[in-house]
């Protein structure tokens, strides 16, 4: 069987993309093997509701530096079916653009009150909500003055659905030179959080990010 699938593009000015992007087109999967390419993820127990609030480490500690924001949205498959019980793992840089990750050697300012990690499950209607600090942009390539725009990482896993993506912010001056944004072209619009004014007063801004998990895997284990 031949017939080629997608040819993955290399992100411009992205060294890692150059080093790691397969050069051959992806290969189509024969029908008899297709189902084996749909890993099924079982619900993860043990989540605490407070893991959805990334703006504080603990109730008796001050809020993290920067602008607290709310992010809400739904997770659906391409048919519009809400995906319930999907685990969202969320991570973003602090207001200065620094990750708490042991391998972030940027030297940017750490915020001792910001962990930068959160987890939440989607509800029966596929909706989710979490709170975080609006991340800072950071200089990713000092040699060519290329910044990474503000972004929040989201990893989704549940049933046959699997997606890792990023939510970006409209109007960030660094959006236009971002390698992955360039590869997305006009479809970048789908990855921008739509701003709204939250009805309650304890966050400074809200962003609506509705997520659609593409492909057949998300629909393979409808329950």
């Amino acid at each position: 069987m031949d017939g080629n699938g997608r040819l993955l593009a290399i992100g411009p000015t992205d060294n890692t993309s150059h080093q790691r992007t397969p050069r051959q087109p992806l290969r189509l999967i024969p029908a008899a093997a297709r189902e084996s390419f749909a890993p099924y993820s079982r619900l993860q127990p043990g989540l605490l509701p407070q893991e959805a609030d990334m703006t504080r480490l603990a109730p008796d500690l001050p809020r993290a530096e920067g602008t607290p924001i709310e992010v809400t949205g739904t997770v659906r498959d391409e048919n519009g079916r809400p995906l319930r019980g999907v685990l969202l793992e969320i991570w973003n840089a602090n207001t200065h653009g620094r990750y708490g990750h042991a391998e972030d050697h940027s030297g940017l300012k750490l915020d001792p009150y910001f962990l930068g990690l959160g987890r939440v499950l989607t509800g029966d209607d596929g909706s989710y909500r979490f709170w975080t600090i609006r991340p800072g942009a950071y200089l990713a390539r000092p040699d060519i003055d290329r910044w990474r725009p503000k972004h929040i990482h989201l990893s989704l896993r549940g049933g046959g659905a699997r997606l890792i993506t990023q939510m970006y912010f409209a109007g960030d001056p660094h959006n236009d030179r971002d390698p992955m944004r360039i590869l997305m072209g006009d479809a970048f619009e789908r990855n921008i959080g739509k701003e709204y004014a939250p009805a309650h007063g304890d966050v400074a801004g809200g962003y609506r990010f509705d997520i659609v998990v593409g492909g057949r895997n998300a629909t393979m284990f409808e329950d």
Partner: protein, 250 residues
Amino acid sequence: MHRRQSGKPDRPRLKPHGPGADSRAEGLAESTGKRFNQSPSSMGECVSESQNAPLPATNEDTCGPYFPIPFCDGDRMDLVQPHFALVNRAGGRPIILRGRFLDLYGDLAAGVLVEFWQANAAGLYRTPATAGHPDIDPWFDGYARCRASDGRFELRTVMPGGTVSQGMARAPHITLTLFSDGIARIVTQVFFAGEAGNDTDPLLLSLPEPMRERLIARHDGRRGDGAEVYQIDIVMAGEGETPFFDDLSS
């Protein structure tokens, strides 16, 4: 067994939110939630909602270099012994799959997030479709993951049984899903040298003959704790590139 992540500070209870928060957000989503067709010609034009028109998928994106290690729950890489304090074991022939992720220049690709998915020793995937099947192993769910910080991984598992799909026999295999800085999700499958069915497996046969061996883990002659050791190199780009598969177009 899923273990709760440890070492994470207690989190505050969420403040109560008025019902207004939801309705406000939904109203705005309706006014801004334009649907875009995926074809470039109609990009940017608002299309009417239809039962048949698929929603445009959110773009997959790189996980970047800083996928949080704590999310891996200390790596979930032993599918034989689900918990160190439990005597229960997965049934079957224990194996160790050791691998390396290599980049265009043959260097180890550090920081790859890799997920594994396989059938149990009896050849059954643990999915809703097999619920209640007598050959489901209660101590095996077939899902592992780790962040390969230095570009290597070691998975302790059992040899997957051969499966049957659409009337065709599949050789024992493990599905690998890779995420890394610089790329979005890519997927492939790993087979095992000497196992029955490799010469008739429909996925292996879909590849040009010289490419097949790139998906076959080699028994390296060693045993670790009674488990046979297999080795595989996953070449992400360039010469000797591992075949990767398209699960969005297939």
